[in-house]
Assembly symmetry: C2
Homo-oligomer: 458 residues x 2
Amino acid sequence: MNYFFSLLFSVITITATSQSIKIDDEKALVDFHLTALTNGKSYEWLSYLSNKIGGRMSGTTSAEKAVIWGESTMKEAGFDKVWLQPVTVPHWERGEKEVAYYTFNNKKINVPICALGNSIATQKKGITAEIIEVKSIDEAEKLGNLLKGKIVFFNVPMKSSNLRTGTSYGETAGIRVNSARIIGKYGVLGVIIRSLTTSLDDFPHTGVMSYRNIPENEKIPAAAISTNAAELLSKHLKENPQLKFYFKQNCQNFEPKQSYNVIGELTGSENPDKYIVVGGHLDSWDLGQGSHDNGTGVVQSMEAVRLFKNNNIRPRNTIRVVLFMDEENSGSGSIKYATEAKAKNEIHLAALESDSGGFTPRGFSIDSNQKYFELMQSWKPLFEKYGIYEFFKGGSGADTSDLKNDNILLVGYKPDGQRYFDYHHAASDTFDKVNKRELELGAAAMASLLYLMDSYLD
Amino acid sequence: MNYFFSLLFSVITITATSQSIKIDDEKALVDFHLTALTNGKSYEWLSYLSNKIGGRMSGTTSAEKAVIWGESTMKEAGFDKVWLQPVTVPHWERGEKEVAYYTFNNKKINVPICALGNSIATQKKGITAEIIEVKSIDEAEKLGNLLKGKIVFFNVPMKSSNLRTGTSYGETAGIRVNSARIIGKYGVLGVIIRSLTTSLDDFPHTGVMSYRNIPENEKIPAAAISTNAAELLSKHLKENPQLKFYFKQNCQNFEPKQSYNVIGELTGSENPDKYIVVGGHLDSWDLGQGSHDNGTGVVQSMEAVRLFKNNNIRPRNTIRVVLFMDEENSGSGSIKYATEAKAKNEIHLAALESDSGGFTPRGFSIDSNQKYFELMQSWKPLFEKYGIYEFFKGGSGADTSDLKNDNILLVGYKPDGQRYFDYHHAASDTFDKVNKRELELGAAAMASLLYLMDSYLD
């Protein structure tokens, strides 16, 4: 694009920011957006969390550092009250980097894999066995005892055809979570899962798996394989179904540990004991920097509240930022928060969660009664000039859904999702994948919604 | 984000792709999107154009290669007719990489600069002079003869506050295009322009400048400086206003050359002599790979028409892909196309241009009479389920606006623009910055609009 065209372009688009401001709501939204874009803190905060602290799995030293950072950042930003809510979290660590390879046509093929969260290790020397490719847990179950002594390779691509990548993830993630648990009983030695991403790349994407309550002797190790390596392995298996696959992983479950949800408040002027929550999760997987998942949600939640302060807007109700610990492994932070809120009979009016990445804002996913759903629709025109059009029924997020009752408005912040699974749970989820403006526009959109919630809910 | 939440998410979003298809229009849009996402060609084509051909300035050998590639690609895709339209283009080359530095506190500071397109070189040994920072052409003009013997540094940041980055670009680009021409008469030795991007990075962003008809002796060299270096230089100038800045550039204007617009057609079944144009520009700047600007527009235009063929949809009118040469330097390709179309009395019903990057689709910019503007609005509901909501009045693009008359529907494809100027005209405009799904969704949106134009225009 060159200059001459852009001048034309600018004439029509400038109206988007310069239309007359008639009411307080419109003015607040303008102020939030201007402040976020010209004097925002979210990007600087995310840089620190990503580059200085990095990946921060529950129970690790990095997660502890993130807790201290979250607390001090909200204190420095001038929140009225900041404290730590103790929570016992699982503690699983990857240990030494995984190794996998096989030989094909006398050539050693190294395979990028990573252990799935919560998986057991292989034996120390690793596992070598024939590997059987299947397309579903059903197919594996039908093979049953024929799988004995084998490694099972679930080569199920995340579908490209769904418009929303989250849909495809939802359709496929059950294999990652459940397959090892279900087929361990057939004497399988281990499972290798195709990474959950529509992109073809060389990163294995981790994520949680679960054994639930199966006997110890049915537990088998589970790892993710990169999509490129899965394609190649599948091709090689067609030519040599007997090829022997080797993998070794060194992960370990340690004793649960004490950690914390980090909570900061802006006290309400009218109803200090009624709460609106905004949050994301502070923990992340270990492979990358946890930037999109969920550093962006953490910094956007803090920034949304800082935007109130920065614009001298005192909320009527108390707005509470919650940086939840342990979303990825067991959800202990969200359970703790909800349980304690209930025990204290705290009135929660609404909760807004950001855990879908730091991309350009597109809309909000709404989990509420019909009255609140319609209230949200009535705010839509205020958001449309910021390019936010999608107000649809759906879940709010893993960390806020425990607060569900008949009288709460639960909302998930929903940015553009096309790139999210390129980075999700992989070493590629790093700071450089986050665009400053997209992140800031998200924080402004969240502040805007909090403002409206605070103004119209009682 | 973890698995459990996503399942909730999927339940509500899956409806976006599975609603009942009642009419041909809806079915065509579904088919285009499915084909683009599961069996598309645009990403593979863009990889070749970016990685095998690379930057392709008008008049260069790479641009010639791009012409041959465009022609053979459309032939291989089975277009009914493919041909080259000769056009004489300017031929400017950068030559040896530019050098710039200054000394501050006895330390040599190397400065990333690049010559602006069409600029003259410095003298061979370069230029050393005091450098004066200004904030506008007006400010420089007021200084007038005080600028004699100096280098002038236009340190004008592209505004962060506009929602649309194109607005900010339009507000600032005049400095890049015009400053050297306007202030050369004061005996200025050269101008250094802050790069046109809201991001802080180390890439100088080039782009066209113009001397128009000023006398030879008023022509002075013009270069862009990276935003990080501009910030640093500004800081250092505050401490030492006398510091001497050195720069050297080796660019050169050669004789104009013969090149080509590359044109491919799918012949209309009812009105073969009525045309709907879809296009982008084949040339690019030389610093990167010209991936977003405008490789994406090129491959999306070809893909949009291939999606008709792939789904066995024969258009009523002739759909013509035009890969315009020389958008960046002088617009000779678009002028040639429009002039020839007029000379031949060709009836053009509509033109759709993609020259705003290969990001997630957001909408269309419409330049037409009121009747067509309203026709476009009537198609909006068909696009909303694909996340496309913005149908607004504005220019179509630099390459199609020459076709303007009272009876043509001119449209610009408008994807999300937050990241566009991070890469625009810089070495960072490379293939890895393009997301496959975002690119493909754009091609499908363009095919969808072409289908509706073809169905409803006569």
